[in-house]
Amino acid sequence: MSTNAKDLQNPLKRARGLGSAQSGVSHWWTQRVTAAGLVLLGIWFVVLVLGLLHADYAMARAAVAKPWNAVLLVAFLITAFWHAVLGLQVVIEDYVHTRWKEVFLLVAIKFLAVLGALAGALAVLRIALGA
C-alpha cells in the first residue's frame, strides 16, 4: 500500500469512471460526438463547394445566404473548431513536456479556435443578412 489516500477513495468514485481529472470521459465522448457531426457536415460542405465551382461572387454570396446553408455553415465551423481544439489538446499534452509551454499552447489554441468560430459565424451572418 503506497498511499493512504488511495485506500480511502470511495469505490463508487472509481466505478463512475471519471478519471483523475474527472474530465477524461467528457473529452473522449465530445470528440466522438463532434466527429460524428463532422462526418455529415464535412460531406455536405464538400458538396456545397463543388456545386459552387462555376459561381461568380454574387452566386457564391447567394448560396451562402440561403438559410439552410447559413445554418449548416455555422454549425460546421463551430463543430470543426471544437473538434480541432480537442484533437490539438491531446497532441500538445503528448509532445510538449515543458509545463509553461504546454499550458500556453493549450490556452492559445482555445483562444484562436473561439476567435475563428466567432469570426466565421459573423461572416456568414453578414452575408446571410445582406450587411
Binding site: 466527429a35 465551382l53 462555376h54 461572387y57 470543426a80 473548431f81 480541432a84 484533437g87 475563428g116 452575408i127
Partner: protein
Amino acid sequence: MADTRRPLSPHLQIYKWQVQMVTSILHRATGIALAVGTLIILWGLLSLAAGEDAFNQFKICTGSPLGMILMIGWTWALFYHLCNGIRHLIQDAGAGYAISQFVRSSWLSIIVSIVLTLLVWAYVLTAGGAA
C-alpha cells in the same frame, strides 16, 4: 521524483513498419493539417463577406499553382481524416479489432481517401475553373 532509471519502451525506429502504424500517425498529422486548413475556409468566408475584390484575391491565391497544391493536399487530408475517422468510430463501438480486419480497414482508409481525392480533383479540373 520520478525514477528515471526505469526501462524505456523502444521507439519508432525499432519497430517493423506496419500499415496500422501509418494510419495512426497519418490520422494525427492530417488532423493537425486540417486544424490549420480550417483557416482557409475562414479566409474564404471572410473575403466573401468583405467584398468582391477581397473574394477575387482569395480565388486568385487558391487558384495559383502553389494554392492548387495546397488545396489538393487539403482535400486528401480531409478525406483521409474522414475515412479513418469513420474507421475509428466503428472501432470505438467495439467492432473490427481482429488483426486481419484491422489491417484491411487501414488499407481501406488509405485507398478510399486517395480515390475520393482523385475523383474530386478530376471533377474540379474537367468540370470547372479551379477554385
